[in-house]
Symmetry: C3
Subunit: 130 residues, 3 copies
């Protein structure tokens, strides 16, 4: 089963908490034990896991990675989004999650984030459950 999630981003860089949507997809699948592979089909976005309790964590992640990889930095790629391509490869566009008892396995503080690095855009996320 391949499911598609549509995500609308509203800023150039953002991390959008999609944990509840992924939990819903896994519940719907009826799979009790297995894995869920999440794939972001874009080269200027990514997927990661981090904390949601304090929104400053996401703020710091985006701010620091942009300080290291700024939007403008004498890049050759003429489209002006090389920073987003670099961040996409560093954070990675694929995340594999364990399913146990019909739910994804996450730590207490862990949430799943869609990372937008060149928005705002209409994005997709594929989820495959095995």
């Amino acid at each position: 089963m391949l499911k598609t999630l549509n995500i609308k981003t509203s800023k150039r860089t953002d991390m959008i908490n999609i944990t509840n949507q992924i939990i819903a997809i896994v519940k719907e699948s009826g799979v009790n034990s297995g894995i869920c592979v999440l794939h972001v089909p874009h080269t200027t976005a990514a997927i990661t896991i981090n904390e949601s309790a304090d929104p400053d964590v996401v703020y710091d992640i985006l701010k620091k990675t942009t300080a290291l990889i700024p939007e403008n930095d004498n890049y050759s790629h003429a489209e002006g989004n090389s920073d987003a391509h670099i961040k996409s490869s560093i954070f990675g566009p694929v995340l594999t999650l364990i399913i146990e008892n019909s739910n994804i396995v996450l730590g207490t503080w862990q949430n799943i984030y869609f990372c937008e690095f060149d928005g705002p855009r209409s994005r997709k996320l594929y989820a495959k459950i095995i």
Copy 2:
């Protein structure tokens, strides 16, 4: 089958070689061919693969990533561990390994490391074999 590994870390940042524990879990499972998904359920730790022959490799990885992402850097998150959250997303909390002939597939120099970025702590690692 979901297995839990308990890991005790003794420093703020460290990379702990857990290759033998993962090999043991795979052998115990009796699975001859498949995959093993390792999931670190923490937002200030990660999992990676690198060399163990020369301990200076791990030393350089930790030193250089801390030079790029220092512990104190005008972060907003008040807990004082934003650096650890950033490193967790960059190294990643999930690693998928191939199982063949009842063993994980690794290159000659490859070892599996639990990455502690905000220790010392008592940590967990989940392993799912398919």
Copy 3:
């Protein structure tokens, strides 16, 4: 089924587009729906997904990551390739792809790249299809 791909690199740092070889491996396997785990068995190389339409994207990725993690930077590891070990862990040596309709699922602009960080060398890539 475990397949081995041999890759010959010709520069110290390079990103080699291996999308067509991976598509061919998946077609050959006859698997219609599942996953493909790609594992680079080296500690100074990695695997990632990014754009191929404009070669400047790959150029910028390699240039910027080398600016952040230079070849020489007072590293302790005497072999002189600590930068390559660090990049290997940051980009990651494993990539999991979704298979649907006997093909890997990729976005319009997504291509699969073998990342060489300490070449030129003869490299391997393992592919496991489930």
